[in-house]
Assembly symmetry: C2
Homo-oligomer: 223 residues x 2
DNA sequence: CCGATATTTTGACGCTGTCAAGATAGTCTT
DNA sequence: AAGACTATCTTGACAGCGTCAAAATATCGG
């Protein structure tokens, strides 16, 4: 039975449905997302998903878990392209977050909705925790702490980084920041966000190396 | 005809539907929001709303406009409780934003969704612009500019303030910030947010009055 | 090869948003 | 004041949705 291969009528329909749901979300958005649409996309009847997912929130939880995994992967990759523990690494991690929001806007909207998917899904919880661990560890490296969330002085740093980046992403997707002429998403992501990160972290925290030529924020090899 | 008074069968059903929709959103949330539910709540047939709103997004646009107006009113009121042009005013404006998010979470989720309502609604656009003008003017006062959005140096300040406050609100509603024991919304709003505002603005901008005893951030008379 | 089991389909239910047609009230003109 | 007009609301219908129960089908263990 356990042959998740070519077979369809008997194969790995559960995985196929998750993949279909991912496509459905990407193409139709959260509003146009439909359980029956996922079933059609997977080539099965409208009631087939019920045997693998108790309801639509269970399926969306799997899609959200994928989203969190992708977010973790992107922020991690961006962050690894700058020297560990530098403010440039914070800026790069932030750029990764914004890139995810820009490239997967519907996933972004989904994972931060919370009322649309089953929050008790274990894979989702693990993926969410892993995604949130990336900025936490970036702050930890920056401030030389192994566990920033247990340091009362560092918690506001973590929450601040996270809030700036997340709020910026949300407003960007809303179109609120690109309304002025000549402002593209790339300038927002590559210029304005690093500037804000620097303003938040470069002062009042470390007084050393105040002028490390913040203009170049490390634009490394692969994305 | 123009008697928006007691009458029902012939009266001001349009306003009654908007009021019903506001209640429906507050009680049922955006997921449970239903056009037919609004009609029931207003005591009319299920198709009555069609004569006043072309579709559900048109009705939600009116509710969103109300939401923006309330947001503007609250941030304005909070901001007016601190001396003009001070960092305390920025912190108070931020507290107003968070208070709105906390007291009207479903309205907050609606107005920053954008795909659920008709964005071309004039009253909505006006209310949205008015709401966004509050933090812009707060930054203007703080930095002594009449039109901050036309100053390339101040735009990141406005966007930064806005991003921090908005992102913090969103994460707070998601429950992501109150997961640790002993952390309530009040401590988030009254302590952590002012701390973040100070970190972002107190350095690198004005170097004067660095130690104004930031513990007391003006907790004035009413609200 | 056959019975047991897992998987999928068919059909139904109540709900939704939207539209068309009919009913009803108020207003206006003369 | 009476009749026509118009705005307003109701009724009824349609397709699509999520979910459930029952029937049908395929796979596997023996």
């Amino acid at each position: 039975m356990r042959a998740p291969e070519n077979a369809y009528h008997h194969g790995d329909l559960r995985a196929a449905l998750i993949a279909a749901a991912d496509e459905e979300l990407s193409e139709n958005g959260l509003n146009g997302f439909t359980l029956r649409g996922c079933a059609r996309r997977a080539g099965v009847s409208h009631a087939a998903p019920a045997h693998h997912f108790k309801d639509i929130t269970a399926l969306l939880a799997e899609v959200a878990a994928n989203g969190f995994e992708r977010l973790a992967e992107i922020t991690e990759r961006f962050g690894s392209n700058a020297p560990l523990g530098t403010i440039e690494q914070l800026a790069e991690t932030a750029r990764g977050y914004l890139t995810f929001a820009s490239e997967y806007p519907h996933h972004f909207r989904l994972i931060f909705n919370g009322e649309r998917y089953d929050r008790t899904n274990p894979r989702l919880q693990a993926a969410g925790a892993a995604a949130f661990r990336v900025p936490v560890e970036a702050i930890g490296s920056y401030r030389g702490s192994a566990d920033p969330m247990s340091d009362p002085d560092l918690i506001p740093q973590v929450v601040g980084l996270w809030s700036i980046v997340h709020g910026f992403s949300d407003l960007m997707l809303l179109g609120q920041l690109t309304s002025r002429p000549g402002v593209t998403r790339r300038t927002l992501i590559d210029e304005m966000m690093p500037k804000m990160i620097r303003q938040f972290f470069e002062n009042g925290v470390r007084k050393q190396k105040p002028a490390s030529r913040p203009r170049s924020v490390a634009r490394p090899r692969r994305n």
